[in-house]
Symmetry: C2
Subunit: 414 residues, 2 copies
């Protein structure tokens, strides 16, 4: 895309009403727009990143047998009363609204109940199990405070998968399969080496839940990490008893702040019993279906990636989720060759942001490129052409080198 | 996908609480699940169709210069007060809710105000114009009645594009460009020959708006259609004066019912003035930006397609938006060859629903295939193999013919 046509503009100054690094950089780079605290619109480049993260998650969920659905935001209170989660006391982050007919309805913050209710139409026998159903959908949480940018939203994008199985053993097996898939997601999103499986409170369903925590000073959680074992314990369950149970030693643990980017809960039969989701086994005996839930905050993950990977000059996007692969900069004397290179890269299906703007100084183009954070910066200028081609620099490195244009094009063929 | 793994089941009977054909067939086929009146969850096959429609719209909007964003559902009242559309009197389909802090906020049914407000950050000069910004996003309308399935939802998927230009002439040009793009969308969705551009009430912005109306007895609108001119007039502006103005003759017009699947409004400076969205011209003089809005109800379009194309046996999906291209049915004696064919089709990237279920009669498989409505049905049975291959039948035709398996595979290579 030609930058002259991209409607968003970058900003030099941080917005005055933001304190979180992710919100500041994403706003300055033109990725997001704040509508109110914890409520952000996605601008073209922000949406590109968000969609790429969502597609990675989608691929990994499909690979473990997930079937995608899209449930509704408006929620029928009757379904939630059955599980006793309708009242504001039971769930203190509900948004509620009212139909024109006067009926109060909910605005979804999670979907255990409606999905269990829906699956009753489609599960009746052991032959219909197991099932793994997920969605990537906007959720709403009525948070009292929301100062962490994309990391704690009142409105945010979430992937939530739910499993429906017959036995604890199957639940356990899928739990591990999904945990592996989660680590693949975080690796592909560039934060695999900073993200650790973490034992956390499993209440009210089980003793423990599994969290995926990404190390960051911006994190709201405190975890105790055993780097050798690549395993952590959330402060909320950090007791001598738990450490003994998990075979972890206090001396091996490091206290660190972290951002929760994913979680897994064993739900058991809590929701299937409430909603009447049962199946007949081979002997014709009825049982409630056993459920698990598996969440990744998609927009939170985007915020976490910015927090963890950005440097003092701006955002650093990992290759697989960057809004574009190449940021092509035309500088004086290089315009014609840059135009040609842009067309050739497009013809090769390379995703390029092309800074073809004419009234912008080289210095400004460089600093905007650093702020936006596209993995490869390619400069075409009189100097680069005299040097034999284009000047190529990775966003996360200081090495610049001039490469012959055809050699560069060749390198970009995949 | 193997049908034995698809979690949804079809139903023989119509749901008791539905009257609209689209809701009945889509529920019976396992495409949607009703949460409450006018509020439907999308099941795997429904989501596939919806995403394909959305992708067609996306392609056509990108082709005319649209840049995709994703605005929020939660709405700041201050922005809407500026345009005097916050009150329930001004906009009687608002859903509203309350932040934990006590502030009342809106749940978006349209996005003129927040987008005009957002664009202030990115438009300041004539050099920043024109801009065309769109999104495909869930909208909420607090309808008193919602009995038309996907055609009138309280919660529904909408494509809304907004144009930002300098002159009426530019607005007019883009209007026509978008109208052409809309007709491409409806053609690709299989209802081009039944969809007509229709003059309708443009209040409160202009005299006329442009609607795109699809002929159907299930439609809520009455239009007067000149089939030769491929042009219609909505009953709401059907007066002698208007007919004279449009050069249409009463005798050439046919009164028909129709479903509004798209619309275009010239907004002028109504919202840019309210939100302070201005630009400086070449002489440094300030003007409010001129806006237009361009909507397609994505989920409504899905409902309309079912209404218009279904027959007495079920849904008939057009090729480009069908959940799968091929419905492969294994019948007794054909299982082994069907398995092989399924794998080969997958290897050729053909989207196949494979009815590999073993305890289902041929009759039931056939009637389910008709209900689900995939364009090509391919049967592998002892009889078809004896006849020389697979029995192929288009959903919208009664002709069956037996084709050699390799010839069929060859035909499916594109």
């Amino acid at each position: 895309m030609r930058q002259s046509e991209l409607f968003t503009k970058t900003r030099r100054e941080a917005p005055k009403d933001e304190v979180a690094k992710n919100a500041i950089l994403l706003t300055r780079g033109g990725f997001i727009h704040k509508e109110m605290a914890g409520v952000y619109s996605m601008l073209p480049m922000g949406l590109r990143v968000l969609n790429k993260i969502a597609d990675i998650i989608r691929e990994e969920m499909n690979a473990i047998g997930g079937q995608e659905v899209f449930l509704t935001t408006l929620q029928d209170p009757e379904i939630w009363k059955k599980s006793e989660r309708w009242s504001d006391e039971a769930m203190d982050i509900w948004f509620k609204t009212e139909l024109a007919t006067g009926t109060e309805v909910g605005i979804a913050n999670t979907h255990e109940e409606p999905l269990a209710n829906l699956m009753r139409q489609h599960i009746s026998s052991y032959k219909d199990l197991p099932r793994f159903t997920y969605q990537i959908q906007t959720k709403f949480r009525n948070e009292l405070r929301a100062k962490s940018g994309l990391m704690r939203g009142r409105e945010f994008l979430m992937k939530d998968l739910y499993s429906f199985v017959q036995s604890e053993k199957e639940l356990e097996e899928f739990h591990e399969k999904c945990a592996d898939a989660y680590m693949k997601v975080f690796e592909r999103c560039g934060i695999g080496d900073k993200t650790f499986r973490t034992f956390a409170d499993g209440e009210p369903f089980t003793k423990f839940s599994d969290e995926f925590q990404t190390l960051s000073d911006a994190g709201e959680d405190i975890i105790y990490l055993d780097r050798k074992k690549e395993l952590a314990v959330n402060k909320e369950v950090y007791t001598d008893e738990v450490l003994a149970e998990l075979n972890l030693k206090k001396d091996d643990l490091e206290e660190v702040k972290a951002i929760e980017v994913g979680n897994i809960f064993k739900l058991g039969t809590r929701f299937s019993e409430a909603e009447g989701l049962e199946y007949l086994d081979e002997d014709g005996k009825s049982h409630p279906v056993i459920m698990g839930s598996y969440g990744i905050g998609v927009s939170r993950l985007m915020g976490a990636i910015v927090e963890v990977l950005a440097d003092e000059n701006g955002i650093v996007w990992p290759a697989e989720i960057a809004p574009f692969s190449v940021h092509l900069l035309a500088l004086p004397g290089g315009e014609k060759e840059a135009d040609k290179l842009y067309e050739k890269l497009l013809a090769q299906n390379v995703e390029v942001l092309y800074d073809n703007r004419q009234d912008i100084s080289a210095g400004q183009k460089f600093s905007e490129a650093d702020l936006i954070g596209i993995p490869q910066r390619v400069v075409v200028s009189e100097r680069s052409l005299e040097g034999g081609g284009v000047e190529v620099k990775a966003r996360d490195s200081d090495d610049e080198k001039v490469i012959d244009i055809d050699a560069f094009l060749n390198k970009m063929t995949n």
